[in-house]
């Protein structure tokens, strides 16, 4: 049986916390960009202008068909080269964090856009009619009447997707970026205490995600009874 030795964790806590900040940074940035871009995609998808709607459908279906790991690899291996040759960025500058945020944001936008599209479609059609009858333009009706109602109902789903995204940030491991999981792995590898560090990392993720999903569920129940 394995003999546990947890002693390398206390000293490593500052380093692990630095990693956690990277994980949270990627999560929050990607959620914000993902929701903005996802909203635009959803509006394009529902718009009467065919090419826009086709573009959005193609984008969403493509990103939903391929694994996140693939997208991240694309961003780490290929996009920096592309940027270097296009914009003459100095070779070898560390763009891993911004690549990761961009990769996550573009990927998650596809999932957010589906949630948002369903949310918009769940607002009764009569609301759009009523807004138009008051003389609002399509844009005004969307912005002032439909979207506020849609978002209110979508908040729990958007947050749940955020929790999934937080879990998925661990995949930046493929770029050797030291997010929380990467940091834990590095410490474990260095001290020969991989078993302890991996168990610790799993426990931390569990506590955070479990607590967050409880809070979302609580909010969801409040929304239902309101």
């Amino acid at each position: 049986m394995h003999e546990f030795d947890w002693s390398s964790i206390p000293n490593a806590l500052p380093f692990l916390w630095e990693g956690m900040k990277i994980s949270l940074n990627i999560t929050v940035s990607a959620v914000i960009f993902g929701i903005v871009w996802g909203t635009l995609l959803a509006l394009m998808r529902l718009s009467p202008i065919k090419p826009l709607s086709w573009f959005a459908a193609g984008y969403v279906n493509l990103f939903r068909a391929i694994p996140l790991v693939m997208v991240l690899l694309w961003f780490f291996l290929i996009v920096p080269h592309l940027l270097e040759s296009l914009f003459g960025f100095p070779r070898g500058s560390d763009m891993r964090l911004s690549s990761a945020i961009a990769g996550f944001a573009l990927f998650e936008a596809a999932y957010y856009s589906e949630i948002i599209r369903a949310g918009i479609q769940s607002v009764p059609k009569g609301q759009m009619g009523a807004a138009s009858a008051l003389g609002m333009t399509y844009g005004q009706a969307m912005r002032l009447v439909v979207l506020p109602q849609a978002f209110r109902n979508m908040v729990p789903l958007l947050l749940t997707q955020g929790i999934i995204l937080f879990q998925d940030t661990s995949l930046v491991y493929v770029s050797a970026l030291a997010d929380f999981f990467g940091a834990a792995y590095k410490v474990g590898d260095r001290d020969g205490r991989l078993v302890e560090l991996l168990l610790f990392a799993g426990a931390v993720y569990f506590v955070i995600c479990f607590t967050a999903s409880r809070i979302v569920r609580h909010y969801q129940n409040k929304l239902k009874t309101a």
């Binding site: 391929i66 291996l77 998925d168 569990f206 995600c209």
Partner: protein
């Protein structure tokens, strides 16, 4: 940009000389399929059991099933994979752990990946099964019991056949997810599709061809799974019920 497209690269022999690059891709493709399908079968069976347990009146059983689902849903897949691959063999009784470590490394990677994907997915399948059962009209259970069925018989003959039909669409998306999630297993060195794509980037100077080929392979899997599940959906459709014939 000065990039030299060269689709002929796939037919060239690999740097190690024993295969073509297309052969590598095909190996990865087969690995992805074998891994995902075997994990999916286990996930379906486990998920069905856990999902049913979440709905039974016995507090202990349903509590246990809830704990199972929460654990597998709230730890990232990558962390779970590392736990299965690096940690589990250390925690097993020594003989068993050593036996695992002495098997063929590809076998080790495959088994850890399969168990990981299967359990991760089974928690999600369980949630679908539970919501399928809960979405049945409550009177159906009573009707089964009133006929003299025992509770297990009521599940077997009355509730599950309908619940399973209701959850075919969400199961389709879980089925697609397991193929996508299998790419995470490249991190422990399993040479599945995404890993082979990455190898190609390392060995050739043709990253775009490689990524496009891998992407097309995943799209292909997607199309096949979706049409397969659509076929299933049409064949289990109940006449006169929810869009039935």
């Amino acid at each position: 940009m000065g990039y030299n497209w060269n689709w002929g690269i796939f037919l060239q022999p690999t740097a190690t000389g024993d295969d073509t690059y297309l052969g590598w891709m095909f190996y990865g493709f087969k690995m992805t399929i074998a891994l995902s399908l075997s994990a999916w079968l286990i996930a379906l069976a486990l998920g069905a059991v856990v999902g049913v347990l979440r709905t039974v009146p016995n507090k202990w059983l349903s509590g246990l099933a809830t704990a199972y689902v929460e654990i597998f849903r709230n730890i990232p897949l990558l962390v779970q994979l590392f736990l299965w691959y690096f940690v589990m063999p250390e925690l097993l009784p020594e003989a068993l752990g050593n036996a695992f470590k002495q098997t063929n490394p590809i076998m080790q990677q495959f088994v850890a990946s399969m168990v990981c994907l299967a359990l991760f997915t089974s928690a999600r399948v369980a949630e679908q099964v539970r919501s399928g059962i809960n979405s049945l009209p409550p009177g159906q259970k009573n009707a089964g019991l009133a006929m003299g069925f025992t509770l297990p018989q009521t599940y077997r003959y009355v509730m599950l056949p309908m619940a399973v039909r209701l959850i075919v669409p969400p199961l389709t998306s879980e089925f697609l997810n397991i193929f996508k999630n299998s790419a995470v297993c490249s991190t422990i060195g399993l040479l599945e599709l995404a890993a082979q794509g990455r190898q190609l980037v390392d060995y050739t100077a043709q990253p775009y061809e490689s990524f496009i080929a891998v992407t097309i392979a995943y799209l292909l899997i997607n199309v096949v799974v979706m049409s397969g599940m659509r076929w299933v959906e049409e064949h289990v459709r109940v006449p006169g019920y929810l869009g039935g014939k």
